[in-house]
């Protein structure tokens, strides 16, 4: 409200031609209003399939919609419904038993030794796989602009161009 979220929502409605809760005719966009995305430092912000885009204004919203429609952001924004692209390879399984038999400090009585487990490589899309091959570890896709927002620690909004820094990706 303080930083113009309603104005942005107004613009979004006109750009997409739908009200909050509606879906465009081509089924590409559904618009919702949300309170608190925990990115107040970059308000107003937008999330697309749970990937954050901060410091939005009508112009950057239009740019975002264009890029999404053209598929330019497919690497960063996962398909709808995908929460995490990393598989759990340690800790509890659903059944409640530890796969590593740790089970707490009191359970180790037989002088067990460390048994490092393999980090299961998630299956990243082809674009990310090249980065993983470069020794960067499992290919973790990064929402580039969120990264920039994340590093905006010194109060600074990221330097001009910093928010587009694709070298962070990988």
């Amino acid at each position: 409200m303080l930083q113009g979220a309603y104005e942005l929502l107004d613009h979004a409605e006109q750009r997409l031609g739908i009200a909050p809760g509606g879906t465009t005719a081509d089924a590409m966009f559904t618009l919702e209003d949300a309170e608190c995305l925990a990115l107040c430092g970059n308000a107003p912000c937008v999330t697309v399939n749970w990937r954050y885009f901060g410091d939005m204004d009508p112009a950057s919203f239009d740019g975002l919609v264009d890029e999404l429609a053209a598929g330019d952001l497919d690497d960063e924004v996962p398909p709808h419904g995908v929460l995490s692209r990393v598989e759990r390879s340690g800790g509890l399984r659903a059944a409640g038993a530890s796969v590593h038999g740790a089970g707490g400090p009191r359970s180790v009585t037989d002088g067990a030794v460390a048994r490092p487990v393999r980090v299961d490589e998630p299956t990243p899309p082809a674009e990310a796989r090249t980065d993983a091959a470069a020794g960067a570890g499992p290919g973790l896709l990064v929402t580039v602009r969120t990264t920039a927002a994340t590093v905006a620690l010194d109060g600074g909004r990221p330097a001009a161009g910093g928010s587009e820094d694709r070298t962070e990706a990988g």
Binding site: M1, Q3, G41, L92, A102, G103, L140, G155
Partner: protein, 445 residues
């Protein structure tokens, strides 16, 4: 008084390239705090944390070491880390989880070691998928590295850690609702006292629930010593505090500053920090500690950012999020927006919050839309009084948790400080602040 000479404890690695990877973390001395903790006994670690006197960073400000000491001796013992940050204006844990997940894991492990926990749950808000992704990936790395799992670093101590994404409810940030949620139930807060989670928590076992920022301090405390931490800050407020500055300032963002050494004026106006109010407008009021805290005015700018100092002027430091509002802000609209959030997020367990929240929201909306009556002002206070008897600070409550009593402060602050503004809305039959299209939006959204 300088504002930047204190060391950065929890944010020192934020902003480094790929700061969320194990490789980067180890380069910066990662897991040294845990290694050091494992050479000590759990009691020694606990003592060190007691010396550091870390106040819980989630909002309530309870000493972490004291909380650990209140635990009922039993087996098993659980540790839950509260990363369900979702109060409007708060965005510090978001940054920590995404920017430095290994720090969170190391801090959680040190805490788990000190309290002899059998299992650690990292409860992360479901709306942080990138954070969940990075945290889970970091955890996988930590397992492979041997920092988590069986026989950590050859010490014979073993523990499992799991990441648990929340499902998008603000109320699950309340510690007992968080435990209910972890148990797979609806996120209803539990009645406490008599049984705090340290006595009966997750699955009936003693459980410690700590905030992300609280445990993120632990690796530094272990390495530098509790007394080094206690040397920072003043009074009860020790160490550094991550302050989330948002709203009408030129440079919003997270700032880690020495606790109790910086005033609101410095935070908002210092060119290295907030940089002043946007467009050099006048400051009208500011929210000192999350939207559930009573607002303060320009006369409180010189109050130091310390838990007890803010409490003296009748508000709270809470989660450390500061929101200045300039003189173009409509306080009715701001109060309406805050109340609407809490009403939407009310779990519905207690009547005063479930029903009162709805009434407050409707009355504020009608005032903002120019259809208010002068009797509404008393009606608002009456509803507030039913949620939080006396509408005083610290709040009394008629509800199980403090979500309900989070609503009255915004309304009461508006009515006491800006009563004329409410009356103008009612007498003129419209909101005197631009832009005029917002009331239309309010009806539709």
């Amino acid at each position: 008084m300088t504002v930047t000479d204190a060391p950065r404890i929890v944010t020192r690695r934020i902003g480094r390239p790929r700061s969320w990877t194990l490789e980067s973390y180890l380069r910066d001395g990662g897991y040294d705090g845990l290694r050091k903790a494992l050479t000590m006994t759990p009691e020694q670690v606990h003592d060190d944390v007691n010396v550091a006197n870390i106040l819980g960073r989630g909002g309530a400000g309870f000493e972490a070491g004291r909380k650990w000491g209140m635990m009922r001796p039993a087996e098993p013992v659980y540790l839950a880390i509260n990363g369900d940050e979702s109060e409007p204006a708060t965005f510090k844990d978001h940054m920590l989880i995404e920017g430095d997940p290994h720090l969170l894991i190391e801090g959680a492990l040190i805490c788990a070691y000190a309290i002899r926990a059998d299992q650690v749950f990292l409860f992360v808000r479901g709306e942080f998928p990138l954070g969940i992704e990075r945290l889970q990936h970091a955890l996988n790395e930590a397992y492979a590295y041997g920092a988590v799992g069986r026989d950590i670093f050859g010490s014979g101590w073993s523990i499992d850690v799991v990441v648990h994404p929340g499902a998008g409810a603000y109320i699950c940030g309340e510690e007992t609702a968080l435990l209910e949620s972890l148990e797979g139930k609806r996120g209803y807060p539990r009645i406490k006292p008599p049984f705090f989670p340290a006595a009966i928590g997750l699955y009936g076992a003693p459980t410690i629930v700590n905030n992300v920022e609280t445990v993120a301090n632990l690796p530094w405390v272990l390495l530098e010593g509790g007394s080094a931490f206690a040397a920072l800050g003043e009074g009860r407020s020790k160490g550094t505090k991550l302050l989330a500055l948002a709203g009408h300032v030129k440079r919003p963002g997270n700032y880690e500053l020495e606790f109790a050494k910086v005033s609101f004026r410095e935070l908002i106006y210092d060119p290295r920090l907030g940089g002043g109010i946007r467009d050099d407008n006048e400051l009208k009021a500011f929210i000192p500690g999350g939207v559930s805290s009573p607002w303060l005015g320009p006369e409180h700018l010189d109050v130091a950012l310390a838990n007890e100092k803010i409490a003296e002027v009748g508000s709270m430091a809470g989660s450390g999020s500061v929101v200045p509002m300039d003189d173009t802000t409509c306080t009715v609209r701001a109060a309406w927006r805050i109340v609407r959030f809490f009403h939407r997020e009310s779990c519905g367990q207690c009547t005063p919050c479930r029903e009162g929240g709805g009434w407050l929201e409707k009355i504020l909306r009608r005032i903002e839309q120019g259809q208010g009556r002068e009797a509404d002002l008393d009606l608002l206070m009456d509803v507030c009084d039913n949620i939080s008897p006396g509408v005083r600070w610290p709040p009394a409550q008629t509800t199980i948790c403090v979500l309900g009593p989070s609503m009255p402060p915004a309304v009461a602050a508006g009515l006491t400080r800006f009563r004329d503004e409410y009356l103008t809305h009612i007498r003129q039959g419209r909101c005197p602040f631009p832009p005029d299209r917002i009331p239309r939006r309010m009806a539709g959204v």
